[in-house]
């Protein structure tokens, strides 16, 4: 990892994102201002109410969306206009390429990077076996389950050896048991690759289980209102959920988030109709 002078691996300074007005819709202030430093090699999660700008935060950090104000840096260099080399992104939706086999999907980014075929083979075989997909190398994504396809997308990102891995609710479409198991996989990847991980999630237990630190965001416009340190050991897995401290961390997150979630419901008008909001 070539992080300049042991500073933050990635940082956001006064980052604001305002979506411009479109026809009859006024501009939307989605995010910020947000200040955040990601430490090298840490597992950082962001939780917040629906529509609070969590994914926007990931987009600006990845260089997928421009900032309206402020600055973003990765390894000391400004991020602007495109995704820098060294950042890998996994999205919530299935982003596998249905026209390619599992093996070719995983090799896609490496082949673009003009890496020698022997290195491609070595890394792809390793990533597929690492993600439990070695037996499906010649299958097409349509023949895989949702969880396997998401693992394939993670494998496709991992083969590029990202130093910063950005995950936008990658397990959002999976059932609870699979999410726990995928969480274990993710922790294993994080430990073995040494990458810095930023996970966007709406699941408090997932954030509490996986992270070194959890950032809690307010209702729109999204601000980081608290950062909770979990102090878990690096060598952890999903069995941590049975520890009393896990309940404390989750409780603390919810205590901070509840009011913001109520605000978000009011913003979207859910609380004005048939549903009564209990304060």
């Amino acid at each position: 990892m070539s992080v300049a002078a042991k500073g933050p691996h990635a940082s956001l300074r006064g980052v604001t994102r305002v979506y411009p007005a479109v026809e009859d819709h006024p501009p939307v202030h989605a995010l910020g201002p947000v200040d955040l430093d990601l430490r090298p090699g840490e597992f950082f999660s962001v939780v917040g109410p629906s529509g609070c700008g969590k994914s926007t935060l990931l987009d600006v950090l990845a260089g997928l969306a421009p900032v309206s104000a402020g600055s973003v840096a990765f390894e000391g260099r400004a991020v602007a206009g495109e995704v820098p080399e060294g950042i890998g992104v996994v999205f919530q939706e299935d982003a596998s390429f249905p026209w390619l086999t599992v093996w070719d999907n995983a090799a896609f980014a490496l082949r673009r990077a003009a890496v020698s075929e022997s290195v491609v083979s070595e890394r792809v075989d390793h990533a597929l076996s690492f993600m439990g997909l070695a037996g499906f190398a010649s299958a097409y994504p349509a023949q895989l389950s949702g969880g396997m396809r998401q693992r394939l997308c993670i494998a496709r990102t991992l083969v590029t050896r990202p130093r910063l891995l950005l995950l936008d609710e990658p397990f959002g479409a999976l059932d609870q048991q699979t999410r726990l198991l995928m969480g274990d996989e993710l922790l294993r990847i994080w430990r073995e690759t040494g990458a810095t991980v930023l996970l966007i999630t709406h699941a408090l237990d997932e954030a509490a289980m996986l992270s070194d630190r959890v950032g809690v965001m307010s209702a729109r416009p999204g601000l980081l209102i608290e950062i909770v340190e979990t102090r878990w050991p690096r060598d952890r897995d999903s069995t941590i959920v049975s520890r009393p401290e896990f309940g404390e961390v989750t409780g603390r997150l919810w205590a901070r988030l509840r009011g913001e979630s109520l605000k978000a419901l009011e913003l979207t008008g859910v609380g004005r109709g048939g549903m009564e909001i209990v304060r």
Partner: protein, 250 residues
């Protein structure tokens, strides 16, 4: 063979045998329809005589040129409309009502523009087919999941690379449908044009045989044409099924 395939084959076989029997039993006037066996014999004779080889090649060449131009032009038009939503909104009503216009009425104009040769027929085939390709291209581009476009950016693909390596394969089922329609429409445009407006090609020869009560030639040519188009269609169908199965769409 699947059960559905067997039933399909059975229906065709029953129809052919029924027609054969009806013709031989005198239920159908031979001036109107000749027995399928006579059609097949006529088609075979025409094929080996080489008398119509030039016409067949002329027609197929015109269809191929019209189809190639329609695929290229329709793809460009569809992609342009996708990239320019305002233009698309302006042209939407015209595209929606395009096939209400009998394009054959433009044949005199094409003769003025291109002269008395095969090009007006190619133009008829082209204008008949191009919008089908454009509409399918536009629909295909619109249906590409946004996450694949974001993935292209996350993988640092340039815009042309993203178009070729992600967007086009992602909308390939729609492009494939467009190509199938283009082939069908090009055949219809060119053959129909030859039938009424040309002095050469299979369409013209069918019309000439019809006007001269030369049923074996007329039905022979029709059978050859149907055989070729059906064969081409079956080939495309088999390819499409393989393609869809791979993507889990069947």
């Amino acid at each position: 063979m699947s059960r559905a395939g067997f039933i399909r084959l059975l229906i065709v076989a029953v129809a052919i045998v029924g027609l054969e029997v009806a013709c031989h039993a005198g239920l159908i006037d031979p001036i109107t329809i000749i027995p399928p066996s006579a059609m097949a014999a006529g088609a075979w004779k025409l094929l080996i005589s080489g008398r119509y080889t030039e016409d067949i090649l002329l027609t197929l060449g015109s269809v191929a040129l019209a189809a190639a131009l329609a695929v290229a032009g329709g793809f460009g038009l569809g992609y342009g409309l996708f990239r320019l939503p305002r233009l698309r909104r302006a042209l939407d009503p015209l595209l929606a009502s395009y096939y209400a216009v009998p394009t054959f009425i433009f044949y005199p104009l094409f003769i003025v523009l291109f002269g008395l040769n095969r090009l007006p027929l190619v133009a008829i085939g082209f204008v008949f087919a191009v919008v089908a390709m454009a509409i399918n291209t536009l629909t295909g581009f619109e249906r590409v999941p946004p996450v694949l476009r974001r993935t292209a950016r996350a993988l640092r693909l340039s815009e042309p690379a993203a178009l070729v390596q992600i967007t086009m394969p992602a909308c390939a089922p729609y492009l494939f449908t467009g190509v199938k329609l283009v082939i069908a429409y090009s055949f219809i445009g060119v053959i129909a044009g030859e039938f009424v407006l040309s002095g050469s090609g299979i369409g013209h020869e069918i019309a000439f045989a019809y006007n001269n009560f030369d049923n074996p030639t007329m039905y022979g040519l029709m059978l050859l044409l149907i055989g070729f188009v059906s064969g081409l269609n079956m080939l495309l169908f088999a390819w499409e099924r393989r393609f869809y199965r791979r993507r889990g769409l069947t």
